[in-house]
Each structure stands twice: as structure tokens, then as C-alpha cells.
């Protein structure tokens, strides 16, 4: 153990290392391709944190879907299930939110908004139902089925905005604006909607579930030792997994609902700049800790916000920030693999030392 332990860094060191490695690699890449990395980073900083308006209306606004989806991803992965289909569930939620949002013109604000949120959650659950069924009944890996459901969702959005939900004028492939009452109010002086408070509240709730509830413990047990959970814990693994995945879908759907009722107020294609995938990095960077997800969600929100500014002010294509996201995921995965190898490499001879 002693030799191996040297390789295993503390979790927070890994996090810092992951972010630093991403930034350094981005800088090197920019310099090698003839951009001024200093100028690019300044533009990013300015776009993300340069002013209260930039922080709230660009960074935090983008952090909302990232945090909410990442919480759902973490919920599923705690139980050992990989929900790669958040993008699809996000769109399912967005479609449902738009549809409800177009019906509620005569409602009060609170019921209208709640109806939109509920509908988007349910749509996320519906979109997850098939993968859950396939997983629990036939053992089909949810990592594959949820991923494939993404493509169906994208096609469905495309169909919706050119068909049933297309704007009345029928010119552009987008929906009409949803009812005023169905729009989430904004925080004064910003474009940030109050969904941010819900996102923080959900993070607190899920943190508590992981820490203190018996269900949260069962979820972790299934994720870390499925056989022991079954034999020793007498935990119904399929039930726990199904619930975790469905909640995961509900959260991704809710993120889609937030985006429609808080930001775009209408449905169109490419509504998400890849939130469903970026959120995976957000959750992994935080090592599935809901408190950390809030922070890493804001960081990634800043990256997304900064990317736009970087393109505008320094002429660097905004896709460059995906380098950072990708490197973060790789470093975290490598650190995890090193840790797993460390724990698993106890040879019988090495265990002699701790024998009574």
C-alpha cells in the first residue's frame, strides 16, 4: 500500500491539476496555432467574470443547466449507472415545457411555471423509461441506450419545430414564444432567472440524500459493491437503479424546462450547446459531490461564457474551450484509475503486515 499511496493524490489536488492541465494545454495549443494565449485568456476572463452583469447573465445563466444535469448524472453514477443521454432528456423536457407553455396563457404565474417544470421533469422521466426497462429487464447497458435516445430526441425536436410546434407564421423552424405567465422571472438588472435558486436548492437536497438518507446509502452501496449490496445489504438493486436513473432523467428534463421558460422562451434546434455532455465533466470534476458540482458548474458556465467572448474579442474559435473540458475529464478518469489500481493491488504478501 505504501508504495502505491505515493501515486494517489488527494482529491482536491487532482481537481486543481485537472483544471490547470486543461488551461496549460489550451494555452500551448493557442500559441502553436498562432493565437495570443494571453489575449485569449483575458477575453475569456472578461466575458465570464469581468462584471456583475457578465457573471450573472453569462456565467451563472449557463451554469444552471450544467448544475442541474450534473446533479442528475451524479445521482445515477453513485449507483453505478451511466446516463449519457442527458442531452436527449434535456430536449424532451424542452419540448414538454414549450408545449405546456403555449397552453397556459390564461393561468396564473405560479401554476403556469410549476406546470412547465413538472411537465419537463415528466418528459425526462418518459425519455428515460425505455433505457431503464431495457436495463432492468434485459441487461442492456444504459450507457448505450441513453446515448442512442439522444439522436431520437434531436430528430423529434427537428420534427416538432417544423411540424406540430412550429410558429404560427410558419417561416422559421422554431416554436412561438411561450405565454408570459410561463416564463421564470429574472433577477433584477440581469438576464439571470430564478432557476439558479432551484439549482442550488437541488444541490443541497441531493447532498443531504447522499449523506443522510438510507436510500442514498443504498444507492452508493449498489454503485460500489453490487454483489455485497444484494447478498449482505438485501438491497433490490434494480429498484434502486431504476429510481436513480429516472430521477436523473427528470433532472435533465427539468434543465430543458428551465432553458425554455427562463432563457429562450421558445423551442428551436441547437437549443443546447452540448449541456448534456459538458455536465458529465462538471459532475466528474466535482467527484459527484453536489457541493462541488455547484462550483464546477459555475466554472464550466464561465468557460462557456468566456468562449463566446474569446471568439468575439480575440478571434479564437469558441470550440477551443472544449480542449479544457476534455482534458479535465481525462485527468479525473486517470486519477480514478490510479486509485482503483492502488486499492486493488494488495498482494497477499503485502497484507501480511497488517495481519494480527
Amino acid at each position: 500500500m505504501r508504495r502505491v499511496r505515493g501515486l494517489v493524490l488527494s482529491p482536491s489536488a487532482v481537481t486543481v491539476m485537472a483544471i490547470a492541465a486543461g488551461a496549460v494545454l489550451l494555452a500551448v495549443g493557442l500559441e502553436l496555432t498562432g493565437y495570443h494565449s494571453g489575449q485569449a485568456f483575458r477575453a475569456m476572463w472578461h466575458g465570464a467574470f469581468g462584471s456583475w452583469y457578465a457573471f450573472t447573465s453569462a456565467t451563472l445563466l449557463r451554469a444552471i443547466p450544467l448544475i442541474v444535469i450534473a446533479l442528475g448524472f451524479a445521482l445515477a453514477l453513485k449507483g453505478g449507472a451511466l446516463n449519457i443521454g442527458a442531452e436527449g432528456q434535456f430536449y424532451a423536457g424542452a419540448i414538454a415545457a414549450t408545449w405546456i407553455g403555449l397552453q397556459v396563457h390564461s393561468w396564473g404565474t405560479v401554476p403556469a411555471i410549476l406546470a412547465v417544470w413538472l411537465a419537463s421533469c415528466l418528459a425526462g422521466v418518459v425519455w428515460m423509461a425505455l433505457p431503464v426497462l431495457l436495463r432492468t429487464r434485459y441487461g442492456v447497458l444504459e450507457a448505450i441506450s441513453t446515448l442512442l435516445m439522444n439522436f431520437i430526441a434531436l430528430s423529434l425536436v427537428s420534427y416538432m419545430v417544423q411540424g406540430p410546434l412550429q410558429e404560427a407564421s410558419g417561416i422559421y423552424p422554431q416554436s412561438d414564444q411561450i405565454a408570459e405567465v410561463a416564463r421564470i422571472p429574472l433577477i433584477a438588472g440581469t438576464r439571470l432567472h430564478w432557476g439558479i435558486a432551484v439549482a442550488f436548492g437541488l444541490a443541497a437536497l441531493i447532498w443531504w440524500i447522499f449523506k443522510s438518507s438510507q436510500w442514498g446509502f443504498h444507492l452508493r452501496a449498489v454503485g460500489q459493491g453490487a454483489e455485497a449490496a444484494l447478498v449482505t445489504g438485501r438491497i433490490d438493486r434494480n429498484r434502486v437503479l431504476a429510481a436513480a436513473l429516472l430521477w436523473s432523467g427528470a433532472l435533465a428534463g427539468l434543465a430543458g424546462g428551465f432553458e425554455v421558460s427562463g432563457v429562450s422562451h421558445a423551442l428551436y434546434q441547437n437549443l443546447s450547446p452540448g449541456y448534456g455532455f459538458a455536465a458529465i465533466a462538471v459532475a466528474l470534476l466535482a467527484r459527484l459531490d453536489p457541493r462541488g458540482i455547484v462550483l464546477s458548474g459555475i466554472l464550466f458556465g464561465a468557460l462557456e461564457a468566456g468562449a463566446g467572448a474569446m471568439q468575439r474579442d480575440a478571434g479564437v474559435p469558441s470550440v477551443a474551450v472544449y480542449v479544457v473540458e476534455a482534458v479535465v475529464i481525462l485527468v479525473i478518469l486517470l486519477a480514478g484509475a490510479a486509485k482503483a489500481a492502488g486499492l486493488g493491488s494488495r498482494s497477499p504478501a503485502l497484507s501480511v503486515g497488517v495481519e494480527p
Binding site: M1, R2, R3, S212, S213, Q214, W215, F217, R220, A221, Q224, G225, E227, A228, A229, L230, V231, T232, G233, R234, L343, R346, S347, P348, A349, L350, S351, V352, G353, V354, E355, P356
Partner: protein, 490 residues
């Protein structure tokens, strides 16, 4: 001319841990030499050095008086050293002939392979079907295949690591007959074993290791169980009083005509299992691996559900699964979390608020600290991962957790597997005490001697069917019943 194989003054360190500390092993041609020792004493490391799997830090190896270097198993085989490992090393999807050819380095010509194998089987008098797939062979024949592989090249020294752990008494006796004949041709045999009877009955000489050092080496004749035990652990083991309880308690476990197909599709499954366990008694299950005992035990504990038949369980039941690191514990979780994992429904740390159940981790930590203290679990603390504990300490935690809620029924599946004598004795002691205090204990071990020692009553499971054993069960009688209708050997 008889060989002499000598390992001298072998030292091997892993970091700060000394696995072997100047150990020696001298094998003479014509002898069967037993290597004894507790878990972690260095037996397997010594064998690995002899077979070139582990490079010693210090020490010499000599064959017929000539110092030799054995950097790898290939070199060992070239020198005429063969090894039968504790775990089977054949390719299950390949036929016997190809497995032997693969190991011996024979050219892969089908006719040729079969001819050479037939000759080998005949010479050694160990018949085996060359076309049978290795994975489908019964355990005893799988081991025969391993022996054929080890002897396929011109082998003078045969090393075996716990070869009888998976065999019935009769099969083990067959193995010793073979080893004896191999030795009588001038070969040398070294075998690791945990079973003292085998040393006393089957070996010529014995070398005992403790903490990497040889504490005794000499003829097996004149030794007794207690002298060997003293060499192994350095003191006498005082077995607790055999307070055989009077079985007049209530029936707490009843299985009637239980049927359960093997979930892993291995072995016979349970075809017709019936048993009763009363309060205050230890019922021992004797069976050869894969005969349905696992299904019977788990159905009794309510872990698996029977396909047919009835299970009646009166009161709470604790189950101790055989594989503690995959089924009994979650290695990455802390001791406390693992205590919570196996907690009874009414555990002290559970709090109920409406439909919501929460965990009071403070109370759970107290419970695990109590187990650590009471059972002498050596651990850095209740919050360190279970993976950092040794096997014996992990099993103490499993047992302490199982007994924490004072269950009325305890079902233990091979609870001393891989434990040294002292740890195993403590497990026995605790289980017997639980029975004495009124629990019904159902106990299975793959070691028949252990079952006979522990049990008030024995139930044999053979070929998926239970056979109750009346009266004081003799070892031979139980051994015969264990074989059931299955033919022994080929």
C-alpha cells in the same frame, strides 16, 4: 539417482514486509514433503521462489548440489521442476489434450498431441479423456489435468499448493497414492497443506514456517496435531470446551423439499433439500463444492428464493457469505459503512421520519467501534476503508456485524476460508457461543474435518440432495456419503 532440491537461506521482502526471512526447504528424491504454516507464513512465496515466479532478495537454489538460477517458470520446467497451483490454470474452452500441449510446449498437431498425452496418462496411471473440455471436468479431474500438465515434461520435482482443498477425502487419498508412487520413482514432492491429518498420514517429512522463518523441519513420524500446531503458531491453541448443547430447542429453520437451480449454472443446484435447525445447535453441512450446498444455505437464509419447496425461518437471520470481499463487504467503503450495510432492519442507527429513513452516522460509528473493540479488529479506525484490512480482520468485522443484532439464526458459508488457525479458532468459538446462547447455527465448510469438529449434527449434500447423518458421524462414512451417486475419479 534420487534428486536433491535445496532452497537455502531465502529472504524476500515486499517493502517493509518480510515474507521470507532466511527460510530453507530441502527436498530429497523419494520423499513426500509437507510444507505447513499459517496464512501469510510464507509457504506460497517459498513455492513461488522454487518455481521462478518470485525472485528472492537473498538465498541460493541448488539442484543435485549444483547452484541454479530460476528466473522464470520456463527455466524451472527446463530443470525438471513442475508446479500445481492452488487455482486451476487451464483454459476452460480447450480440450484436455490442447491444454497439456499448451503447457508442455508440444507442437499443436492433433494426432501427435493425443498420442503423447495417451502415453503420459498410461505412464503415470492417470487416465483422462483427451477430448473433454477442461471447463467441463469435475474438480478432481481438473486437478488431474493440472498434474498431467506439471509432469508432461521430464519432471523430477513436483510442487503442489494446497492440492487437497477442493477434494473429498477419498479423492485426496487417491492423490496421495499417486504422489507416493511418483516419489518412489525417485521424484521429490513438496506440498502445501492446511490439513494436519494429511501431514501425519501422508507425508514423510514436514517443514513448518512461521512469519517467514522455518520453525521446524524433520520427519512427520512422531509429530502430533498439537506439536505441529505449536510449531505453526508458537503456542498451544486452547479449544473452548466442547459444550455440546442438548438439542431440544425450537425449530428455527426448516427447509422442506427445496429445489433451486444453480444461478450460475455450475454444479448440480439443489434438487431436493430438507433440513431443520433447532435453537442452540450447530448443524454442519458437508459437501463437495458444486453439489447444491450453496443453494441450500442461501435459501435457508432467505438470500435466494427457492424454485420449489418451503423455507420457514423463525426470527431474524444473519448470513455470512463465503466471499467476503465481493459479497460480504464493500472494500472501498469504510468499516462503519460496511456495518450499516449489513445492519438488521431494527438497527440502532436507523431513524424513521414518516416514509423517510435516515442514517445516524454517529450511532453507526459507535456500533462499529464496539465491534472493533470486542472482536479485536486491527484497523486504523472505523472510517478507514475495509480494503486496508487483512482477510482475518475483515472476517472478524463480518462476524461481529452479523452477531451485533443477536440474530436467532446464523447461516455461515465457509466462514474460515483463508484464515489462519488462530483466527479460525476464534470464529468457531464465537459461533459456538452464539449457539450456546440459543441461536440456531447452520455451518458449512469445504474442510470436512472442520465441519465434523464444529457440528452437533451433520447433513450431507450430495448431487443436490440432502442426506441426514445419524448418530456420531464417522469421517469415512460422511466422506462416502459426500460422494453420493457421483462416481469418484474418472
Amino acid at each position: 539417482m534420487p534428486v536433491r532440491f535445496a532452497l537455502d537461506d531465502i529472504t524476500k521482502r515486499y517493502g517493509s514486509v518480510t515474507a521470507l526471512d532466511g527460510a530453507h526447504l530441502l527436498l530429497e528424491g523419494g520423499e513426500v514433503h509437507a510444507v505447513l504454516g499459517e496464512n501469510g507464513a510464507g509457504k506460497t512465496t517459498l513455492m513461488r521462489v522454487a518455481f521462478g515466479l518470485t525472485a528472492p532478495d537473498l538465498g541460493t537454489v541448488a539442484l543435485d548440489g549444483v547452484p541454479v538460477a530460476i528466473p522464470n517458470p520456463r527455466a524451472a520446467r527446463a530443470l525438471g521442476i513442475g508446479m500445481v497451483h492452488q487455482h486451476f490454470t487451464s483454459v476452460p474452452q480447450l480440450p484436455v489434450a490442447e491444454n497439456v500441449a499448451l503447457s508442455a510446449g508440444w507442437p499443436a498437431r492433433p494426432g501427435d498431441m493425443r498420442r503423447r498425452l495417451a502415453l503420459l496418462c498410461q505412464t503415470l496411471d492417470l487416465p483422462l479423456d483427451p477430448d473433454a473440455l477442461a471447463g467441463t471436468l469435475p474438480v478432481a479431474l481438473k486437478q488431474r489435468l493440472e498434474i498431467l500438465k506439471a509432469l508432461a515434461t521430464d519432471t523430477k520435482v513436483l510442487l503442489l499448493d494446497e492440492p487437497t482443498a477442493v477434494l473429498t477425502p477419498r479423492e485426496a487419498a487417491g492423490l496421495f497414492t499417486f504422489l507416493r508412487s511418483f516419489a518412489s520413482e525417485g521424484g521429490a514432492v513438496a506440498l502445501i497443506t492446511h490439513k494436519l491429518n494429511e501431514v501425519l498420514d501422508g507425508a514423510d517429512r514436514v517443514t513448518v514456517l512461521r512469519a517467514g522463518r522455518v520453525t521446524h523441519t524433520g520427519p512427520a513420524e512422531g509429530e502430533t496435531r498439537s506439536t505441529l500446531t505449536r510449531h505453526m503458531i508458537g503456542r498451544d491453541i486452547t479449544s473452548p470446551e466442547q459444550s455440546r448443547s442438548v438439542s431440544g430447542g425450537d425449530v428455527l429453520v426448516r427447509v422442506a423439499d427445496g429445489v433451486l437451480a444453480s444461478p450460475s449454472f455450475q454444479g448440480s443446484g439443489l434438487r431436493s433439500g430438507s433440513l431443520e435447525v433447532r435453537a442452540g445447535e450447530v448443524v454442519g453441512i458437508a459437501a463437495v463444492e458444486g453439489n447444491g450446498q450453496r443453494e441450500l444455505l442461501r435459501a435457508s437464509a432467505g438470500v435466494w428464493t427457492l424454485d420449489g419447496g418451503v423455507v420457514e425461518l423463525a426470527g431474524s437471520c444473519a448470513f455470512i457469505p463465503e466471499d467476503r470481499t465481493s459479497e460480504g463487504l464493500i472494500p472501498a467503503m469504510s468499516l462503519t459503512e460496511n456495518v450499516v450495510l449489513g445492519g438488521a432492519p431494527g438497527a440502532s442507527w436507523l431513524r424513521h421520519a414518516g416514509p423517510l429513513t435516515t442514517i445516524d452516522w454517529q450511532a453507526a460509528a459507535e456500533a462499529s467501534a464496539k465491534i472493533i473493540e470486542e472482536y479485536g479488529v486491527v484497523a486504523p479506525g472505523p472510517e478507514s476503508p475495509v480494503a486496508t484490512l487483512s482477510g482475518g480482520n475483515q472476517q472478524k468485522l463480518v462476524l461481529g456485524r452479523a452477531l451485533l443484532s443477536e440474530p436467532r439464526v446464523i447461516v455461515a458459508e465457509n466462514p474460515t476460508r483463508g484464515l489462519d488457525v488462530a483466527a479460525a479458532t476464534e470464529i468457531h468459538d464465537r459461533l459456538r457461543r452464539a449457539a450456546h446462547n440459543g441461536a440456531a447455527v447452520l455451518f458449512y465448510s469445504s474442510d470436512l474435518d472442520e465441519v465434523l469438529e464444529m457440528a452437533d449434527r451433520v447433513v450431507v449434500v450430495a448431487n443436490g440432495r440432502t442426506v441426514p447423518v445419524d448418530g456420531a458421524p464417522g469421517r469415512t462414512r460422511v466422506g462416502e456419503l459426500m460422494l453420493g451417486s457421483r462416481s469418484p475419479g474418472s
